[in-house]
């Protein structure tokens, strides 16, 4: 489904992603983990070209993403759900509008868009909050709106960029529950960047460990956390043991 080939990205002199190669199968849930600044978010953002890679290629269903022109890229992005760490909601719109506006702008009739939005809000448990302003919601609720917005597009690929990193520990649980539910109940291919080891153990088909812009280890959760080979893996093992 997704092939990342020798991906490079550099910010000034800092090498964020250094020749990553990754293959993700249809319906697979891949969790990318690693220390802060290791290039996880950059990698996931390169997939829908929110960040333009310097070199390499990203191929989705046989199509090079980097070769897409503007309109093609927009069409591709509509098939990809992206959940941001900071929620990235449009603060002036209501919850419902936040979830439906991109559908309307994509040409879906307003009533259909509204129905899909309500359905998505229902999945994340926020049906009752549809007329509220996002700023009036808690962090966890705002992130669930963000998830609903991503789901409303009915994406083939879900990209989760540390969705719980900005939340209070109390609120993390409700988001993880929603995420876990969604991963289990849908057959959507997901690439999740997170530090939540427990969540990764539960939902991941495969875990990728990154360090200094490179993939240092990958494998099933059991493999990674039981018999890690890399220093990063060993650190996570100690974390679980501790």
């Amino acid at each position: 489904m997704l092939n990342i080939i020798n991906l490079h990205k550099q910010y000034g002199k800092h090498v964020a992603v250094d020749g990553i190669n990754l293959h993700v199968k249809q319906g697979e849930t891949v969790v990318i983990m690693g220390p802060s600044g290791c290039g996880k978010s950059t990698t996931i953002r390169c997939i829908n070209r929110l960040t333009e890679p310097d070199a390499g290629d990203i191929v989705v269903n046989g199509q090079s993403i980097l070769a897409l022109r503007d309109k093609e890229l927009r069409d591709f992005r509509r098939t990809v759900g992206f959940v941001f760490q900071q929620f990235n909601l449009i603060s002036r719109l209501t919850v419902l509008e936040n979830v439906m506006f991109h559908l309307v702008l994509a040409g879906i009739p307003r009533d259909q868009a509204e129905a899909r939005a309500r359905q998505a809000l229902g999945k994340v448990g926020l049906a009752a909050a549809e007329q509220k302003s996002p700023t009036s919601l808690s962090g966890g609720e705002q992130q669930r709106v963000g998830i609903a917005r991503a789901l409303a597009s009915q994406p083939q690929l879900m990209l989760w960029d540390e969705p719980t990193a900005s939340l209070d520990p109390i609120l993390v649980g409700e988001v993880l529950e929603v995420m876990e539910e969604l991963v289990r109940t849908t057959n959507t291919t997901s690439i999740i960047v997170t530090h939540e080891v427990g969540f990764a153990l539960k939902v991941a088909d495969r875990i990728i460990l990154m360090d200094h812009g490179k993939i240092v280890e990958e494998g099933s959760p059991q493999h990674i956390f039981v018999a890690p080979q890399s220093e990063v893996g060993k650190k996570y093992q100690r974390l679980i043991a501790g």
Partner: protein
């Protein structure tokens, strides 16, 4: 960056630019118009209705009450029917309007405004606003009278008068304005002041230079009448000063000791050279020796063949009462005596004048006494004449009696006796003696001649002499003495050295340099001279490649004061419009375009670095902002007819570019965008135009962009 506009936002952007330009133009023009209208009304209030008043008198605020009283007095006593009104007081200066009655609106009145209003307390200045009129500004001093005379002859002109450096031509009717202006312009075209200007600090002999230039021009423009008017603009006072100095120089030259030099054969002298003579010193100059302190130094003024004239510039011959003839010597460097050049004749005119005056005074003092004595002498002569006449008559009687007696005796001579003989001899002897006596007194004709003397004529002559003496006695000799004494006392007490220095000083001022300066002005009539064509000729003639030649009009036609005020207001309007255009552009750039530029800059940040170096150095977003700034400002500026003094249209374009670049550079500070929301929009597959319309613009500062976007915004 282009892809940002390519997916549809370019339409929004173009509409925004057009609307911005239109609104900006309306804004700038509107504010300027409002200010113009406000000031226009104020001006009407300040200077009254058209033709109502003729003057504005500017008076110190502290004196305004007294000034008003004086103006009312002038109006009442000198110009019954005149209007006086106090208008606004600005910056400590009160202003009064004064309108003459119609019959007083004459050249005579306007030519003596200073004397009419000179006594107004606290008067600082006045402005003539008589209407309808045509103002000829900057009239060259050399043609003031000529122009005034010619303007007065134009049909429709009531009169013209000089007002400072300007000339006001008062019209009979405002309808004549156009015709009169054309006529004035035609007259002004007949005159041209050609100015030859030398580089700064390059002083020239203006008189000589002007003459040289005029001679040169005359060769090419023979029909042209040319006059050196270099000094004209300095005014009549300076002319008078120069004339006075010339007269003073002539007086001093004639008052100075006369120096005549006769050169030895083979000796040549030149003007300005100095020679030495002994003067009244005890020591004669010795060749090769230093010049003595008492020696006289002479400067050669004029040389004609072997003779020269000079002037004493050091030393004095004040005590020489006679003409001195002494050998002269050349003046060598280091104040030494050179070779003998010939004989120098020195004559102290002042001594002779003084001597003559003193002798005249002495003569006058004796004249009165002399007249009295002469009168007495005439009286004595008259008395003598009377006595002489009486004696002559008695002598004649005696002569007859003797003759008769002698004849009687002769008749009795036959019987002469010795006694008779003695008597006869006595009488003959007496007669002979009388005759002899008469002969001695009156000449050869004897007594007859004596008798023929015209005593009456002699008396008449004496009478005439007496009358003349009487006339002389009637002359007020004392008054003459007093006056001559005064003249003698008022004669300058100057020695030759002082006179020489003074003449030198005057020569420097008027002789060599009538008006020291860096330019000459030549008034040209009848012909138009192309200064660019004559400039090379003048440069060559004067051997100066740095001089420049300009053609200056002798005056320029301007509208009257009211029109001028409104012209200034128009300039103010244009200036305000210009300032408003800049302000508006700045605001629009900050409110609207900074948002767009911020978005473009953020979107570009996620892109790969350009392979073009110039794009990496010059941020295209900032360049775009700069171009937009230029476009907006120039368009608004031009469409609103703005014009800021001293700032050209190209300078406005530069201001727009700089303004745009600055706002582009700091766009995030003026209009920060929610990058997280934009990123969400990108991730959701929104186009740039959708991101702008639905995310960026609705959240931006309120402005035209925001306003225009509302019609397109779906959420």
């Amino acid at each position: 960056m282009l892809h940002f506009f390519r997916d549809g936002f370019y339409r929004d952007f173009i509409i925004l630019l057009l609307v911005t330009i239109l609104v900006g133009t309306a804004f700038s023009s509107g504010i300027a118009w409002a200010v113009d209208a406000y000031f226009g009304d104020t001006v009407e209030q300040v200077i009254g209705d058209n033709g109502e008043y003729d003057m504005i008198l500017h008076v110190r605020e502290a004196s305004k009450d007294a000034a008003l009283r004086e103006l009312e007095r002038i109006a009442e006593q000198q110009f019954p029917g005149a209007r006086v009104s106090q208008t606004i007081t600005v910056a400590g200066q009160a202003n009064f309007l004064f309108g003459f009655p119609e019959e007083a609106r004459t050249e005579a009145t306007f030519s003596r405004l200073s004397s009419i209003f000179g006594g107004v307390p606290g008067l600082n200045n006045y402005t003539v606003i008589v209407e309808p009129s045509v103002l000829v500004r900057g009239v060259h001093a050399s043609v003031v009278e000529t122009l005034q005379e010619r303007f007065n002859q134009i049909d429709g002109v009531k009169f013209a008068f000089k007002d400072g450096k300007n000339m006001l031509v008062v019209l009979e009717s405002a309808e004549n304005s156009k015709t009169v202006i054309n006529a004035i312009k035609n007259i002004l075209k007949e005159y041209q002041v050609l100015e030859v200007r030398f580089p700064m600090g390059f002083e020239i002999d203006t008189q000589q230079t002007a003459e040289t230039v005029m001679k040169l021009l005359q060769q090419h423009y023979s029909a042209a009448k040319m006059t050196n008017v270099t000094s004209a603009e300095y005014g009549e006072e300076l002319d008078a000063l120069v004339k006075t100095l010339v007269e003073m120089r002539n007086f001093l030259l004639s008052y100075a000791s006369k120096v005549r030099i006769v050169c030895k054969p083979g000796v040549n002298l030149t003007s300005g050279e100095q020679i030495i003579v002994q003067g009244t010193s005890g020591q004669a100059p010795v060749e090769g020796e230093p010049i003595g302190e008492d020696h006289v130094i002479i400067e050669i003024l004029d040389v004609h063949g072997d003779q020269a004239q000079g002037m004493i510039v050091a030393g004095s011959i004040a005590d020489a009462n006679q003409v001195l003839t002494q050998p002269g010597y050349r003046y060598l460097s280091e104040a030494r005596v050179g070779s003998q050049i010939g004989q120098v004749e020195l004559e102290n005119e002042r001594y002779r004048l003084n001597y003559t005056i003193n002798e005249s005074l002495r003569l006058l003092e004796e004249l009165d006494e002399l007249a009295v004595e002469a009168s007495l002498a005439v009286e004595n002569a008259d008395s003598v004449l009377n006595t002489f006449q009486e004696a002559l008559m008695q002598l004649e009687v005696l002569q007859v009696q003797i003759k008769q007696l002698n004849e009687g005796l002769a008749e009795k001579g036959a019987q002469s006796t010795s006694e008779q003989l003695i008597i006869s001899l006595f009488l003959n002897g007496l007669l002979k003696n009388l005759t002899q006596a008469n002969s001695d007194a009156v000449g050869q004709d004897g007594l007859d001649s004596l008798q023929n003397l015209d005593i009456e004529a002699m008396r008449a002559s004496l009478s005439n002499i007496a009358e003349q003496i009487g006339s002389v006695q009637q002359i007020d000799v004392q008054a003459i003495i007093d006056q001559i004494t005064d003249i003698r006392d008022s004669l300058p007490q100057l020695d030759d050295e002082e006179i020489g220095k003074s003449i030198h000083l005057i020569d420097n001022y008027i002789g060599g340099q009538v008006i020291p300066g860096e330019r000459v002005q030549i008034l040209v009539e009848n012909t138009s001279i192309d200064e660019s064509k004559v400039e090379p000729l003048i440069r060559e003639k004067l051997s100066n490649q740095y001089l420049n030649t300009y053609s200056v009009a002798v005056g320029t036609v301007n509208p009257d004061t009211r029109t001028e005020v409104f012209r200034i207001l128009k300039e103010v309007r244009a200036t305000i419009a210009g300032i408003m255009a800049i302000v508006f552009t700045g605001i629009v750039m900050m409110l609207d375009h900074a948002t767009i530029i911020s978005t473009i800059k953020w979107l570009r940040s996620s892109k790969k670095k350009s392979r073009f170096r110039w794009i990496r150095i010059f941020n295209p977003a900032v360049l775009l902002s700069s171009v937009v700034g230029t476009l907006l400002l120039v368009s608004i500026y031009l469409l609103s007819n703005a014009e800021i003094p001293l700032i050209s249209d190209s300078a406005i374009a530069i201001i727009g570019a700089v303004l745009g670049a600055l706002i582009g550079w700091f766009s995030e500070k003026f209009s920060p965008v929610h990058t997280a929301e934009i990123m969400a929009g990108q991730a959701l597959g929104l186009s740039n135009v959708q991101i702008m319309r639905e995310i960026v613009i609705p959240a931006s500062r309120p402005g035209l962009l925001n306003l225009l976007n509302r019609t397109r915004q779906q959420f």
